[in-house]
Symmetry: C2
Subunit: 739 residues, 2 copies
């Protein structure tokens, strides 16, 4: 090829140069389209910042000398930044400096804003918004305390500062959960149950009160436990409804949220490699052996479709001749049951089982519910997925124990399955706890929850209950009674030790039309066919749980959290009701629709258990799921499966959930470990377990509360989150003080 030869060296370089130029030219000419294929960030990969970062951070052999130089350069480059950290506009770092971090936070680049703390709104609007937000946080703090639910220390601290009151750590409350049994301890031991207190529990205006004795009850003189005041609650609620619709506050919170998003993007670009370095240097811990909790899963669908299929086939091989049903007094064997359905289990497939949510369920919650019936046959649902049937729920218990055993094998995964109490009948609790104890459905991997479907209208239509008050009584009275006299119902008392909270479930997009207000009929008066509204349900569940927790705390028993499904669909006011009453929620998609609520959930660090795969089949396409956005802004999100039977394909549904989120949203290891950590914090794992899984200071906020050796979350990330929250709280303080 080379026809004319020029003297060596010179020629060589020229050739190389020319070749390179041609290459660049050719690839430019060729790849006009390449740019629109790029990346979630708006930075080209030849971005100088990125390069510099990488060069600096990937260099494993960088010596101390170089490091020093780098730090000096940073300082000289960032003069105003370095100063600003001490000025009054960003007193955030003060807080951070005061906090002794037990593992030091490595150097990282901070994003500071100089000068404008009203964040671009007028001073009047700023003050108005801050006062509103302050009162909103105060409201939440009050209702959390009342029910022994959680509220962030740091937010309380700022609230006290705004009030000029001292912060008293002893005022902070924590829920109590039963520790797993020690080696050799029997979780079904009834001997340790406490004795009867002789109290009387009775419902009044939809809430159960506790009386010293029958006489006090008749006189209407309940024991002096703090309780929710109905009128105050309505008043607080009306204030919040006005707040979320208030123009200036909407603008202010919208701007703050936008800022939080951008700030995280900058943080990520600047510190991603440093965070990764922390994780790389963290021995023995990675995403796989971080603890994670499936914070939202329904027991009836906690196995995947393939597992259920295998179980049905197996049961038929073993039990074909067993009587599994009585129809009109006649015994029906398993074989006859399948014959009646015109089916042979050998032929059964996941297709004919048809429990997986396909494209047909999108925006159709009704169809989704029908999917709970295998082969469309409610007989099979009864047999395999119910606790009450001719076999006393044996099959269901066995499947659940198989799922638990898979989790025990996986070792690092826990789950919080929901079992149903309908409130249709006062004996439901006895039956459910009987099932639990009889089949010894206990596993250290499971923390149980009770879900209450909001279907009063269905029961009323069939005349199962005379009024809504009866339904509430059926749900709560047995629990009060077992709390007062555990030996009166030992099964239930044992079961309650392992129940960690209540969930409220149903299709939120159904609209009752009722507006909860001071004129709403009391539950005992609610005898119409119409279903009460979401908020009405939530209020009465909360009020009873709060009362119950007061009583149980007095007795030294475990307490219950309120963790409703909320914001999956329907009106944004659902999220407002949960803001006032719930320790944490499941779904929260609709936080997208209200900047004020979204910002309040951020300030209150209210955990949101999200299930993007479930949403993808029901309400919202995967790529549009707000999980990534919420996570970036600093809302506390966890990942959960909701219904593995209906949504997942693999043997490890929770890992599938994480893997897909990681792939679609391009989460870093640090992101994934942060989400895992949040799931443990949000969960009802006991204090003992949390200490073991997250480190002994897990209740502290910020880097101090993080043990990277256990959580694999970078201290830089923890510091970023903490400082960011403090910064936002501090802005509100400034706004409130300004008066």
């Amino acid at each position: 090829m080379p026809k004319v030869l020029l003297p060596g060296g010179q020629q060589k370089t020229d050739d190389k140069m020319r070749a390179f130029a041609e290459q660049v030219f050719a690839s430019d000419a060729r790849d006009e389209n390449v740019r629109d294929e790029i990346s979630m960030f708006d930075i080209a990969d030849d971005c100088p910042i990125l390069h510099q970062e990488q060069a600096m951070h990937l260099d494993r052999d960088e010596d101390e000398e170089k490091r020093k130089k780098r730090r000096q350069r940073c300082r000289t480059m960032g003069v105003p930044m370095a100063c600003s950290t001490l000025s009054s506009v960003a007193p955030v770092v003060d807080v951070e400096v005061e906090t002794p971090t037990y593992l030091e936070v490595p150097d990282f680049q901070r994003v500071a804003i100089i000068g404008d703390y009203a964040s671009g709104v007028t001073m009047d609007d700023f003050e108005l918004s801050c006062k509103g937000l302050y009162r909103a946080m105060n409201i939440r703090e009050k209702y959390m305390r009342l029910a022994f639910q959680r509220f962030p220390n740091i937010t309380s601290q700022y609230l006290r500062e705004m009030e000029g009151e001292p912060f008293r750590p002893e005022d902070q409350v924590q829920p109590v959960f039963t520790s797993p049994p020690k080696k050799g301890e029997d979780p079904f031991d009834v001997n340790a149950l406490p004795k009867n207190l002789g109290y009387v529990a009775r419902m009044k205006d939809g809430v159960i009160y506790v009386y010293d004795d029958q006489a006090a009850a008749d006189k209407g003189q309940p024991r002096a436990l703090p309780c929710t005041d109905y009128d105050t609650f309505i008043d607080d609620m009306n204030f919040l409804i006005a707040l979320i619709a208030q123009g200036p506050t909407k603008t202010y919170t919208h701007r703050r949220l936008k800022f939080l998003m951008s700030k995280f993007n900058v943080h990520e670009m600047l510190n991603e490699m440093e965070e990764l370095k922390e994780l790389k240097n963290n021995p023995h811990r990675d995403f796989y052996n971080c603890r994670k909790v499936d914070t939202h899963i329904h027991a009836a669908a906690c196995m995947n479709q393939k597992h259920l299929l295998r179980f049905i086939k197996h049961s038929y091989r073993v039990d074909a001749e067993r009587v599994v049903r009585k129809v009109d007094g006649k015994d029906v064997t398993l074989k006859e049951l399948f014959q009646g359905l015109n089916l042979h289990p050998y032929d059964l497939t996941v297709d004919s089982l048809d429990v997986h949510a396909g494209r047909q369920t999108f925006q159709r919650f009704d169809k989704f519910n029908a999917k709970y019936n295998p082969v469309g046959a409610s007989e099979l649902r009864d047999l395999y997925m119910k606790t009450e049937n001719h076999l006393d729920g044996e099959y269901f218990a066995t499947i659940i124990k198989e799922v638990a055993s898979d989790l025990e094998d996986a070792k690092y995964q826990y789950a919080e399955p929901r079992l149903s109490i309908y409130g249709c009948n006062p004996s439901e609790w006895t039956k459910l706890s009987g099932w639990f104890v009889r089949h010894k459905v206990f596993s250290p991997q499971f923390k149980w929850m009770i879900q209450v479907p909001r279907i009063y209208d269905v029961f009323k239509a069939r005349n199962f209950v005379p009024h809504f008050g009866k339904m509430l009584e059926n749900i709560f009275l047995p629990v009060f009674q077992a709390t007062i006299d555990p030996h009166s119902n030992p099964d239930l008392s044992l079961f309650l030790q392992h129940v960690t909270g209540f969930d409220s479930v149903d299709d939120e997009s159904k609209h009752s039309g009722h507006m909860f207000c001071t004129k709403s009929p009391k539950p005992e008066e609610w005898d119409i066919a119409k279903n009460p509204s979401y908020t009405y349900y939530i209020y009465y569940m909360y009020a009873n749980i709060a009362m119950l927790n007061q009583l149980r705390r007095e007795r030294g028993m475990n307490t219950f959290l309120f963790r409703p499904h909320c914001g999956e669909a329907g009106a944004v006011t659902h999220l407002l009701a949960a803001f006032m009453t719930a320790d944490n929620i499941a779904h929260g998609l609709n936080l997208k629709k209200s900047p004020v609520l979204q910002y309040l959930y951020f300030l209150g660090q209210i955990p949101v258990a999200m299930s993007p795969l479930s949403n993808n089949s029901l309400f919202l396409e995967y790529a549009k799921n707000p999980l990534l956005e919420f996570h970036k802004k600093g809302l506390v999100v966890s990942l959960s499966t909701d219904d593995p039977m209906q949504f997942h394909y693999t043997k490890e549904p929770l890992m599938e959930e994480y893997a897909i989120a990681a792939q679609v949203f391009k989460l870093s290891t640090c992101d994934m470990c942060e989400i895992s950590r949040s799931s443990v914090l949000q969960s009802a794992l006991s204090d003992e377990e949390k200490t073991h899984f997250l480190g002994e200071h897990y209740l502290k906020e910020g880097p101090e509360g993080n043990d990277i050796r256990k959580t694999n979350v970078a201290q830089i990330r923890m510091a970023y989150r903490y400082e960011t929250l403090c910064y936002e709280l501090n802005l509100i303080k400034e706004g409130v003080k300004a008066e």
Copy 2:
């Protein structure tokens, strides 16, 4: 609440009506935003067609009477449609009627277009395009036959019709793959190897020819095997280059592809429930127990990151004192090796291992390659992921066998891992096959492939090879020699029985700047530093494989497919080269950029092994992956993992790949089973295995070739695909005949 009571019945209805109206009003008022959250299709879920369909199809108890009525109604509704199926514009159905389907295709609603067969372009343009497409298909057919690669029967049939020639099924060729050993048979038995033919193989102009003996070789008189003609190839290529740039053909194919997309969407909307019904009635087979093949995976990254980590830790526990390396003649034990890296395997995590492609690899193939080094240390890559090292590749063999054993447990999954031959040295084959035989790296779940990296420039720069011809000789000559005299290299001969094809690999976005043409230097003359172009590589690989297959067919040996990486990045001409030479390709993303090529890949039903998770980390975000689009249009796509070590999180990478595609693209079960079936067809599983997995008629096209009991693909889908392909081929026939 009800204050005024009206007489019973009347009141009741009114109340209900009003309640419903209020509900509708309230939900309207509330949910203004709901519409933009909806769905991948542009149909609202209250779409009457959908409802009608579902009502009709979900009714399991529909009796024969009703069915008849329905059919009659369909007929009266669809008059022009029913007629059109027999008219000349859509003679497609003729074909279908002639074909005896061994399982009848259930009724389904067909999409027919009446009247306009030039599909909206002028008659001249239509004819021009059709002629070009005809010649293009003819070119592919020729080169496929020459190399014993596959070409669809139906396309051949239409080509013969256009030529007025009879179609002779005996002209169709098929590749030959080694069947798995029968029970008790030893896959490493050397006694069955055929005897020496005494031929001589020698390279000329980059292609190896076979001569009867030394004398014939010296005289340059090769045996009369059909071979690729260089000038014709270049001529064909230039014709195709012109074709893909030709305006009218671009327009025509673009319109056809758009039509194919819309047609599938309509088909899906109309027949989705019917397809599902077929699957539900199909006993014992579902997506989980359909066979699927991981059609594109690199052996060096076939384990996931967690598996590699576990293996490294295990090896350390067992082998700490073992000598695993020699450095400057000094023995290095495993312990010393890790000490040298300042690491203790106990502390090692997936983070510090750092083999997972993170966000940093996006658009950075160079960084991606670096990820192959665990902990960034090439020593560990050598030790654990290479066949040649101090332990003779023992660790690598063990990991691979563990992966195989996992697949054997999963039972329904197969994989086609690639091992490298570089062409740097003629002894590579002997070493690789020695490793294979010594460690008995055999599993019925694996079909092996050889990947050849396109890195002549690297070898030339280090003076490993004098010219490109030498590289080709190193790659192919040993294979020819082992084919001529198997006993001369028994290890290699055994290994070759299990090799099913060649892959060509490297970063396609690197651009060599060379244009392959008649003036290109022959490989023996290519002694410059510059790398040859993609097409140059492809041509010489193909020419040698074609020749090799001729020889091996003559000897009754298994043949090799050419299955290059193609269209992952870089110029679209890569896809053109593969169109001429490759049985099937991996990636194919760039088919998006050329409608003509995309349409040609459709007409030729050229399988494309896609890896959206790999693309997501390297070249293209998941949601933008064209997989769904290609699948809908009727291109033959399969799903593959590429590099589980770098991209996947779970223990079952192929299932993860399917699960994510199913979730993000909302694939139906039928879609997933169709993709699984394509993966088996595309793969190098033997005729015996394919018969077992797909049914005895698997080589036939259309519903006739599908055994739903084994594949779980609806016959309706098969009929749709077949009729659609015939329709498109028929259009071309019309265009060619029009002259």
